[in-house]
Amino acid sequence: MRNSDEPLSPERQGLRDQLAEGYQMIGKSPIKVDAMAKVTGQTMFADDLSMPRMLHCKILRSHVAYARILSIDTSAAEALPGVIAVLTGAAMPIPFGILPVSQDEHALCLDRVRFVGDPVVAVAAVDEETAFEAIQRIHVEYEKLEPVFDPTTAIENKQEPLHDYGDDGNVHKRVSMEFGEVEEAFAAADLVLEDTMFFEGNTHLPMEQHASLAWREADGRLTIQSSTQTPHYLHKAMSKVLEMPPSRVRVIACPNGGGFGGKSDPFNHEIVVAKLALMTNRPVKIALTREEVFYCHRGRHPVLMHVKTGFRKDGSMTGMHFQSLLDGGGYGSYGVASTYYTGALQTVTYKVPAYRFDGVRCFTNKPPCGPKRGHGTPQPRFALEVQLDKAAVALGLDPADLRLRTLHPAGGITANWLQVGSMGLGPCIEKVVEASGWKDKWGKLPAGKGVGLACSSYISGAGLPIYWNAMPHSGVTVQLDRGGGVAVFCGETDIGQGSDTVLAMVVAEVLGVDLADIRLTVADTHTTPVDLGSYSSRVTVMMGHAAFQAAERAREVVARSVAKRLEVPAVRLRFAENRVFDVQDPENGMPFPKAVQVAEAEHGTIAMAGSYTPPASPGKYRGAGVGPSPAYSYSAAVVQVDVDLETGVVAVEKIWVAHDVGQSINEMLVIGQVEGGVYMGLGEALMEEMSYRSNRFGVHKIPSMLEYKSPTTHEMPPVETFLIESPDPNGPFGAKEVGQGPLLPMMPAVANAVFDAVGVRVDEVPVTPDKVLKAMQAKDKRYGPKSFPDLRITETMRVKTLEQGGDGTAPRPPRAEKQEVKSS
């Protein structure tokens, strides 16, 4: 395994030998360590917590999209019996935000509100109803400002900018980079396709509404329990805004009732209840309403895209120019990273010899967008995979064959300097093509029925942390006790994906103990080593490595003592079935608890730590921090649809999906993640959208669970899942991610299937019935955006590719673009 530069001792060699003989735990499907608690209702989610003297918090939110706050009158609220404290932004003037470059949020708005739902005043009262009554008595005087709801307008900078930072006006981030010579690549192509596509924003819709409970401990410390995916980052934000040393702030992440990226930012309500708890010296809880969850958002960015690609006759690409315009909403959130991500992973699936990416993210007066499952990559993946389908048709090729001919080689470096490791996309495509009967179906089904194919890739954790530091991304401590119990400590957060189980299984594999002998302490900044959080599909790879290292070190200590006691070479020791024994004479051994006792007698208390830092990326240019990952997962899917020719209603009949996960840690959980990703992608493909009514109000079209359409049992088709295991040298046991990648092919596969069924292109997500029908009635048999605005790129960073003899840096200083900046 990587990250272990210590010399291989006989004890460690014994572990390697044991693993080579076969896994005890890895790849099997034991039940999740938290499953019985979940099925019996014993799991305590954040809103299930309560404390004596607890107060309830409600937040008054802006009902205007953009305005200056002129005055706030809270006197009537304060006069209401049962109201204990009223809090405004003035008490918390320090800004925060998830990215160091976007510290643009306040726990309560200071001077301006930037979207409908922006928090303005908070109340703590003896019960929820009183708090609700109180916020209704608060009068906020606003001076309305001209709002902007659309990035194509925002980019023109005619309104008062939402923020006083960013690249210019309402342009939060503008990026342009070119790898190789794209214009030359187009000139060398047999076919150049240009497409403009739109991916509407959508949201996570976790079943659990965000909730937090904060209190001041008797010794003055602050503790918060919250539904967060990133306790470490919340810890940093709370410490900053509340001006308390991190050592005196404790963040405990509760099990998340679904996250999907929606609980990855530090949130205003979390800081608000903490502040109220400090003010009142009482526990304070907030449970957001479903409407408020829609305002928290941080979901999928709406992205308008223009993609120009050169193809040779055999379907291979000569080069690609990808442009994206992101609608960021009111705040930064992860947006700078999201912007880069819309241009990062186009290159890791198919060979793109020359590549240019231009991206712009604008602020608009809507709830902030951020990371949703697939973070920034499903939108460009949609555009790319639909365009490949068009290219196949134009070139007279089968879309599956086209893809198989152009796969990026395993172990290669992409044009934009991403290091590909194991690469199982080919087998993924072959598997779904065979299982779905693709060759007998594509282009051959009766009118209204069709099949579509699409592929994807995703990172197994980001190569860099969110704030620059040289420390590990994940840490695990393993402590052995005399009874044979194994206590494992890690900051990771289980959001339902099963990371607790992965943690326990890795340790159990190394120590040869039962899962029942492992006790986990997780997601608590006071007791566990830092793990950066459950985002970017990083936990299995990073925590897995750290857990392996910690367990291996503990095993080493035990093995050393047991080898002496049994008088066998340590390399021959095996840890299995709660015993430690000589592989050449299995009767010669001792129970695991006895082994721990022997070791503890010799070495003292056994508590070992492990940690993990991802390998350095070959890309060294500015912006190279987004995209690198220890390993890339790959997925392919075929979707079969039945389109109602009269109404345009798309029914998905069946899905075949194959995912290259490297190596399953828990196969059942892997399949569960694939199915869940397919489900969520299908919702995005067919119906989910976070859209807004009008320029006048900027109110969310449907801040309700009912009107934000998501698939029910009726809309979910049967899914056949295939796992491709191509162990990656960078993965623990070869494992790669599975939580996000399988979502990505769904949207383009549905759009491609609709084309196969009714011969029209819907170049926009979601593919709703009215759009299908409009495309069927349109002359060009297409529905989608007609134009793409000038992104006003003035400088493009140029980086030589590996093939050009580059070294991963941008050797020349950025030079001015020849293209003129058009005035609007």
Partner: protein, 173 residues
């Protein structure tokens, strides 16, 4: 900062009621405008029943009332008078988990686990009417419960496994 004073509206005075929950009678006092969901979670501390919207839009708060799946967020506590209420806390008995619970755990039908109590109770009601439900029956009967993690597939498989075991009379594997 002000001293705490309780609101004194007369409508907020509590009513006393005997609630029949999970086979036991409970003497519970609650304000009359509380939903059964709130009474269960806040006044009885039965937090196994979850909520996802409190507007009847997700099915998360599903409980059984006289054996029928109901949305506890749209039923007042007062309306449960004389009815037999079953929550997730009442599903496992002294001799262990219900076969549905075991099967949900074994097959990974609970990911985040938040919708799980509602699904389990809805599934129990399905099996009470139809011990060997078809996939189509499950799709129809569980159409009122949203899950954002599983895509429902493992939930169907778990119910089918539990149904098969209950038919054979074996509580689990």
């Amino acid at each position: 900062m002000k001293p705490a004073t309780e609101p004194d509206s007369p409508a907020r005075s509590k009513v006393q009621m005997i609630l029949r929950v999970n086979g036991e009678s409970h003497d519970v006092a609650f304000v009359p405008h509380k939903t059964l969901l709130e009474v269960l979670r806040e006044d009885m501390r039965l937090t196994g029943t979850k909520h996802g919207c409190e507007l009847g839009e997700c099915g998360t708060c599903t409980i059984l009332v006289d054996g029928v799946p109901r949305l506890s967020c749209l039923m007042l506590g007062l309306e449960s008078d004389g009815h037999d209420i079953r929550t997730i806390e009442g599903m496992a008995g002294a001799c262990g988990a219900h076969p549905l619970q075991t099967a949900f755990a074994e097959l990974g039908a609970a990911q985040c686990g938040y919708c799980t109590p509602g699904f389990l109770l809805a599934a129990e009601a399905v099996l009470a009417r139809d011990p060997t439900p078809s996939r189509a029956t499950l799709v129809e009967e569980l159409g009122g419960n949203l899950c954002r993690c599983t895509g429902y597939l493992k939930i169907y498989e778990a119910i089918e496994l539990a149904a098969a075991r209950m038919q054979k009379g074996t509580p689990d594997a």
